[in-house]
Amino acid sequence: MRWGMAIELKRCIGCYACVLACKAEHFLPPDIFWNRVLIGEKGKYPTVSKIILSVRCNQCANPKCVDACPTGATQKREDGIVWIDEDKCVGCRYCMVACPYQMRSFYEHEKEYFPGQGLTEHEKIGRILYPHQKGVVQKCVFCKERIDAGLAKGLKPGVDRDASPACQIICPTKAIHFGDLDDPNSEINMIIQTKKGHQFHPEFDTDPSIYYID
């Protein structure tokens, strides 16, 4: 079992739904993003095309962050998900330096979404449902809580919404696919093969679990 994603760039329109669904799902603090949309351009006027890339932790099979972590807080699960044990993390941020994709965030100071106006009901319930420790690093974990709970109920991640990552199910253009890279017959492997999915920066020697399709 190795969870992975395939993202069809032709479908993606850069709506940022994936970014906000993740923020909502995990009650992320202000200025913290577990996934981002990168915008750029290719070509010279008048032959120009827009680059839109939805990016997040690549859940690498060969994660540099795990190597760099001095406390063992950052670790890789059997199913390939790389996660951070907040209790073990001391906030040294060596992992942030080590990650060649720059996908990690350091949560330092508590901030209000409406500065100086207190916490909204929404922010308060977030601290109950999905609290974040200050002074530690955090990042995308492929919605492991949804996956684990879903599997326990017999649901299929990538197929059943409740067991699937928030960014995948919110995408209005169905650009994001999720599934088991270890299963040769999985839909995600079919897509990667038939549509020629490729990883970002293979030269980093990280073996990412996210493939992009042009």
């Binding site: 739904a17 200025d31 949309v37 095309s49 827009k50 979404y113 409406f114 209005p172 253009t173 169905k174």
Partner: protein, 903 residues
């Protein structure tokens, strides 16, 4: 306890975990959504998966961010009264909290007085913002119509969004706007349209279907001065100058008709006024007995009435003589007329290379597959897998009506209208819910000329064409029957005309909802002058904005879409319902949380006001007529003026859903309407639990064009008909319009922007829709603000990199755009390769300065400050505004437009 469908850490106490179905209010697309409420708090919003009304489980960022608008601590929670008598752009209202009773007592008193003296002294209006748009026509609009005022002002969204589009889509598709039939279309041309990549009606399913089209290899050609949203997803982005789309379209029509000889003869003969004979006076030759237009039957060699059952064939070319009068079929005139629009001329006006125009025309002609058919559900339909669409940008100029109709011509000549693969209007044909036969909308031919008429009331007729009149109301729309939304009276030339007309009355009160008349309207200086003069202004809003703070006397706290019932968001299939073979869906909007503090649903507040002024019975009667119209016979159709005629409708034709004396709640009305449309089992309870009623669409509903005997005007004869009367009536009002545009032959006219650009003010500035924003309130939502700051363009001003370099400007510079009238807007420069060198652009409608919106404050720029508001800057035929303006650009040392803002 294992909790699925949400990320949870540890073992928090979960007392409630429910999903409520409703419709989104992030924009006026009203996609079907499901909202997660845990322990009484809304924690997540997603698209409703098994529903075509949206992205089938997906949702855009604006929808998710609604959570933050709902819980924004800056929201209006109580009725407020302005205690500072001064009004102005940056004035502190010095709010005082008052009770609902005090507020409504005063409002009702004033309304009673006005209604007695002259109801036209009430100005009302609003804009589809914060998702309350659906209440606009049927909540607010009805109130005003029944009250008796003709003074309706829509503010920014309608003004710059698409008066040409709405006029044209109404004319050609009995719809509000158009999209490609993404499922079958192979070749899409978008002209100043971000369909599939931005905001607005039908956003949800457009995103989904357009992505499918791209994934299967459909070619999408985008004509746009900027390569951002639509341009960014194009197979081929083609830059052009703002306002030149019309001549590009006309030159392509020319190439098809006169060089390639590709056109759909059957469609032109049977579905357009192409065969109607035109005389030397530019009008139809009419049968003396019936008054109906004549055609030439080339088989029997005689003129006949257009719908004579004995017709053997229709001539669409040639010259004929009928009763001594020389005439030609309209199509002959159109074909000859477009010859002047050479690709070379189009290149001069647009900067699109002539060779490119020729190539695109050829590709389009080939892809149109004229003459082919497709079988859908066992029935044969013409297959025309090409679509040319236009929205805001392409028609937001003083040549709006002609630009839009030119683009429609491109679709019409190949028969790509409401057939598989072609250009589709949002559903104009609803056969009715199978079990009851109700919720039915059937377009029909107008009784005189056989022209397509919408089967329900929508703003854009024009059949029957009204007689031009000397204006008696401040919108002045009576003057030009083809006008869509009017910029009057919020203009710099209104007083000139009203003075000439003898100033019959003044506006004493304004009732505005969900709008920011200051930031979303053109030129805040001009609009401020207007609003300052109105003695009493009441607004219904969710969040503070520049209009409320600067000008409102009483603010009433409205419900957020997540706190409200709304029936009207489900109506108007022509407005935003899924196209093509997507299923029918009638969704409910219902509260997911109860409105906090003293917030009240604006429609129920309007009903209470109606009670207090003795108008409730009339409103009930109107609603009966309205809903009955969906029961089969269109008792009211045409524009909102028809609402005023509701009292004249024979009461026996309307079902009594609400008894005259009843004072029901909104939820009660919804329950009755649901049961009336869909049967006793589909009551409010059913809808609350299921979120919507869905049923399969029939192919002949989706692709109705050849199933309804209607025609569309490729020759705008009605414009020739009204011209002399418009000119005469205009004289009395002292109005001078660009009369040459009142021509029945679709033509190119240089837009005002092209006339104003010169050596000093050398750039065409324009604004465009950003997927992250809708109206002026989205910048206040912290999540949207965060990602806007992450995006390189959303909050910045963009220019072509070469142009910037030549002007000594670089990324990160604070720059100023100054118009020829000295209006200034500033912002941070971001250079692009993907932008026309002669342009400068600002996304969305940012640049907030309201004290009550701290997140939005100072972010981005408010483009509309640069615009003018007068008839010189409006299309004379449809009254769409000129939304591009000539500017000079230079480095700024501060944000000039913020001078005077209180912080």
């Amino acid at each position: 306890m294992v909790v699925t469908g949400m990320s949870v850490k540890g073992n928090p106490e979960i007392k409630e975990d429910v999903w409520i179905r409703t419709t989104c209010g992030g924009c006026y697309g009203t996609c079907a959504i499901r909202v997660h409420r845990v322990n009484g708090v809304i924690v997540k919003i997603e698209g409703e998966p098994d529903n075509d009304f949206g992205a089938r489980g997906g949702l855009c960022a604006k929808g998710e961010a609604m959570i933050q608008a709902l819980y924004d601590p800056n929201r209006y929670n109580y009725p407020l009264r302005r205690t500072n008598p001064e009004k102005g752009l940056f004035v502190d209202p010095k709010w005082k909290r008052i009770s609902w009773d005090e507020a409504l007592t005063e409002i009702a008193e004033r309304l009673k007085k006005i209604r007695k003296e002259n109801p036209n002294k009430l100005l009302h209006g609003g804009t589809p913002s914060a998702g309350s748009g659906p209440d606009l026509p049927l909540g607010f609009g009805v109130f005003g119509a029944v009250f008796g005022t003709k003074n309706w002002y829509i503010g920014g969204a309608g003004l710059h969004c698409g008066s040409g589009s709405h006029m044209g889509a109404g004319l050609y598709h009995a719809s509000w706007s158009i999209v490609p039939d993404w499922k079958y279309c192979n070749y899409v041309i978008q002209m100043g349209s971000n369909k599939g990549t931005a905001s607005g009606h039908s956003m949800g399913f457009n995103m989904r279907l357009a992505a499918d089209a791209r994934a299967r290899g459909a070619k999408i050609v985008v004509f746009d001065p900027i390569c951002n949203f639509a341009g960014g997803k194009a197979t081929e982005w083609i830059p052009l100058l703002p306002g030149s789309d019309g001549i590009v379209a006309l030159s392509m029509v020319n190439i098809l008709l006169n060089e390639l000889n590709v056109y759909d003869v059957e469609f032109i003969k049977k579905k357009t006024n192409g065969p109607y004979l035109i005389g030397p006076d530019q009008l139809y030759l009419r049968d003396k007995a019936t008054g109906k237009p004549l055609i030439w039957d080339p088989v029997e060699n005689k003129a006949k009435v257009f719908n004579d059952p004995s017709i053997k064939d229709f001539a669409i070319l040639g010259n004929y003589t009928v009763n001594g009068v020389k005439c030609s079929p309209a199509f002959q005139l159109v074909k000859d007329h477009v010859k002047q629009y050479t690709p070379e001329w189009a290149e001069q006006e647009s900067t699109v290379p002539a060779a490119t125009i020729r190539r695109i025309a050829r590709e389009y002609a080939e892809a149109a597959q004229v003459g082919t058919t497709i079988e859908i559900e066992g029935e044969k339909f013409p297959l025309r897998p090409v679509a040319c669409i236009m929205f805001r940008g392409g028609q937001g100029h003083t040549n709006s009506a002609h630009s839009y109709t030119a683009m429609c011509l491109l679709n019409a000549i190949v028969g790509a209208m409401d057939v598989p693969g072609g250009t589709l209007g949002w559903p104009a044909y609803v056969g009715g819910y199978p079990e009851t036969g109700r919720f039915k909308v059937i377009p029909y031919p107008d009784s005189r000329d056989g022209m397509l008429t919408a089967g329900t009331f929508m703003e854009h007729g024009p059949w029957p064409v009204h007689e031009p009149k000397v204006p008696s109301d401040m919108t002045m729309k009576e003057l030009v029957p083809t006008a869509s939304f009017s910029p009057q009276p919020v203009t710099s030339d209104f007083d000139k005309y009203w003075n000439k007309l003898g100033r019959p009355y003044e506006i004493e009160m304004a009732m505005i909802f969900g709008a920011n008349m200051i930031r979303s309207s053109q030129s805040r200086e001009i609009t401020a002058e207007f609003w300052k003069k109105i003695p009493f202004i009441v607004t219904f809003n969710i969040l503070p904005n520049e209009f409320c703070e600067g000008f409102a006397d009483i603010v009433l706290p409205d419900c957020h879409p997540l706190e409200a019932y709304c029936l009207f968001s489900s109506h108007g299939p022509f407005f935003n319902h899924p196209i093509g073979m997507e299923g029918w869906c009638f969704p409910i909007r219902q509260p997911v949380v109860q409105p906090a503090y003293e917030r009240r649903n604006k429609v129920e507040v309007l009903w209470e006001l109606a009670d207090r002024i003795g108008m409730r019975e009339e409103m009930n009667r109107y609603y009966n007529v309205y809903f009955s119209s969906f029961g089969g016979e269109p008792l009211i159709s045409g524009d909102i003026n028809s609402a005023r005629g509701a009292a004249q409708i024979d009461p026996s034709k309307a079902v009594t859903l609400i008894k005259p004396e009843e004072k029901i709640t909104y939820a009660e009305m919804m329950d009755r309407v649901f049961k009336y449309y869909f049967g006793p089992n589909h009551d409010l309870k059913y809808f609350s639990e299921n979120g919507s009623l869905q049923w399969k669409k029939k192919a002949k509903e989706a692709y109705w064009r050849w199933h309804v005997d209607v025609r569309i005007p490729i020759y705008l004869e009605h414009i020739a008909e009204i011209k002399p009367k418009v000119m005469e009536a205009a004289k009395q009002a002292g109005v001078e319009l660009q009369w040459e545009q009142f021509t029945p032959l679709i033509s190119y006219f240089k837009p005002q922007i092209a006339k104003e650009v010169n050596d000093e003010y050398d750039l065409y500035s324009f604004s465009y829709r950003d997927i992250l924003h809708n109206g002026t309130y989205t910048m206040e939502m912290p999540w949207l603000d965060e990602v806007s700051r992450m995006n390189p363009y959303t909050y910045n001003i963009t220019m072509n990199a070469e142009t910037a370099k030549k002007k000594g400007l670089k990324d990160g510079d604070l720059i100023c755009l100054e118009s020829r009238r000295g209006r200034k807007v500033t912002g941070t420069l971001k250079t692009m390769q993907g932008q026309h060198p002669k342009t400068v652009a600002i996304a969305a409608c940012s640049g907030a300065w309201a004290k009550g919106a701290p997140i939005a404050f100072g972010k981005g720029s408010n483009y509309n400050i640069l615009l003018e508001s007068d008839f010189d800057h409006a299309c004379p035929v449809c009254w769409s505004q000129e939304t591009a303006t000539a500017v000079k650009v230079y480095k700024a040392d501060r944000r000039y437009e913020y001078d005077g803002v209180r912080r």
